[in-house]
Symmetry: C2
Subunit: 352 residues, 2 copies
């Protein structure tokens, strides 16, 4: 007597919500009158299966409201999981980026495993954890990038692409904008506007973005014969860091007449310090620039001149490169550097 199944189906529906029995390949196969292999193949885009068979399976699956169990699938095959490693959770720059990444990943019917890398847990540990999920690929947005991470990815043979960092690493794919160029452009904009004693407010120590921006900035200043520049450590990419660094800088004897911050959110903090604590006028007394072109840069309050990163394109290229590597792991790592673009707004004097 095959009673067990019926039993299961109409088992006291009003009772304490028992875990609804999941429908599996077996049930679908039964319902469709085919093998489980057929069911499996039907749900795998590039498996060899005839149209009619696939449709039969889909029909049965739909009727039973079958959803493949990704976890089980992931054991032998792709997990459909993409890890996103993030550090800079207090930089608003990253929210829209995260937004686009997750959408794009979902568009390719994968999901995002978001890994928060912070002080407590070193990045190495983070990678190991994410590897336990057999992620198909990894996006790394961390500003500081330890070598071990890259090694871990390679040893696991997990495709990874680094977002927004410069291409010193040649063993892994990197998508970034040309930060040296960004520095050049900032120097030009400030010099063209007539500022003569500019300063660079650096970001997190040792991160390639800030190093390159500084290098590009200073070298262009000197090229153009400006020698009265200075550099100050800013610390992290945050409003407070920019604010504090600015106050510190203006305690010194040599006051700059223009400030180029390692990124926009620092510039916003700095501008507030200039205007509201130091009583200086922007752009008349001091010119201010940042990098990124975050939403706030285009607000009426800050109206910040900046160097815009081609975010949309960087994101698109990152996703494209990642999925290319996922489908063909033999692909050599590439290094994609996109140009950036100056955006002149009200925080600098008009260039002459």
């Amino acid at each position: 007597m095959t009673v067990s199944k019926e039993n299961r189906d109409n088992q006291s529906p009003s009772f304490p919500p028992k875990k609804k029995p999941k429908v599996t390949v077996v049930e679908v196969a039964e319902a469709a009158g085919v093998s489980v292999s057929a069911v499996s193949r039907a749900f795998n885009p590039d498996a060899s299966i005839s149209r009619p068979l696939r449709e039969k399976v889909f029909k049965a699956a739909a009727a039973l409201n079958y959803k493949p169990n990704r976890l089980a699938r992931g054991i032998k095959s792709r997990s459909s999981l993409v890890g996103i490693l993030m550090t800079d959770f207090n930089n608003p720059f990253y929210l829209p980026i995260l937004s686009r990444f997750t959408s794009e990943i979902q568009n390719r019917s994968c999901h995002s495993l978001l890994i928060h890398v912070d002080g407590d847990m070193d990045i190495q540990e983070a990678v190991e954890l994410v590897m336990e999920y057999n992620v198909d690929g990894l996006i790394i947005t961390s500003a500081s990038l330890p070598k071990e991470l890259v090694d871990a990815c390679r040893s696991q043979n997990t495709p990874a692409v680094i977002f927004g960092r410069d291409s010193s690493e040649n063993s892994v794919t990197v998508v970034s904008c040309d930060n040296v160029l960004a520095g050049n452009m900032a120097a030009d904009m400030l010099l063209d506007a007539g500022y003569t004693k500019p300063a660079f407010v650096a970001g997190p120590v040792g991160t390639s973005a800030t190093i390159d921006r500084q290098r590009g900035f200073i070298s262009r200043l000197m090229e153009r014969g400006c020698n009265q520049w200075q550099v100050i450590e800013g610390g992290e990419f945050s409003y407070d860091a920019g604010y504090d660094a600015t106050l510190r800088m203006f305690k010194s004897v040599e006051r700059p007449d223009a400030l180029f911050y390692a990124d926009d959110i620092m510039a916003c903090g700095g501008m507030d310090a200039l205007r509201y604590d130091l009583g200086l006028r922007v752009p008349e007394d001091v010119g201010v620039m940042g990098v990124d072109d975050i939403r706030l840069a285009n607000s009426r309050s800050y109206d910040l001149s900046t160097i815009r990163q081609p975010n949309e394109e960087m994101i698109q290229r990152t996703i494209d490169a990642l999925f290319e590597h996922i489908s063909d792991p033999q692909l050599p790592p590439q290094s994609i550097t996109l140009p950036c673009e100056p955006v002149e707004r009200g925080s600098t004097k008009k260039s002459k």
Copy 2:
């Protein structure tokens, strides 16, 4: 001849990076001279296993650099995955929140599956997708919450907690702050400061937070005998929405003398419109308030009076409640409403 194993181990290490063979329970068991069950138990905190056995396993595991495969584990047991459903990716309010959630989830040795719910894909679909990963639990930050989502969770028996929304639903755990109270407080602060013609700039239509804030605001105004209020639709929670709504409002005949925005980022946009487009002084000509107390509210540029949500506590309570439900699925849903707190800054006149 047991050659196969040795073969595997020292197989041409210099060759094209073959997928490094993962070490599994079987190898660890062999190395430790125990059963695979023992290995499994050693890695499951509440399995019954003796200390010495566990240590023996750990030693072997460490030597082999064994990491349990979470995917395989997830088939029969917990996936250690927590889904986070988000909509509002253009509200900076959510970045720190996301930061805390992911950290807390990682602290409990789980990981975050971040689901971006947007227009293209309805929330129903998002939930189904996330269910395919057998998430242990779900955090929902979506402002608008369709009933189907709640049903989906229940039918899958997946614990879920809704963050930042009001407790109209009684079938699922909700953590929010008292938004009616927030409205009351805003009304009090503006009235106490001497404003007499306040307006409410609403957020996304149909979301409980904005509805409740409006209700609390208006009802308190009327209680205190102020009848010259108005309400305008703001649209989404964003800088632009606040900016645009403000310009629209000031085209009308009846100009308000104080604005209470549904949230801080709208208030920032609005304040910029007031100051830079309409040439009004804040707080002298118009008082401005928001809700949330985002980082920017405390900047010198905006210096925004607001109603602070007890974010830290809301997050903590959300996580606690979620994990309680995960370990005991029979727990009844609770509805946790926390008080909020007025923060008086420079965008409103000093209360008398």
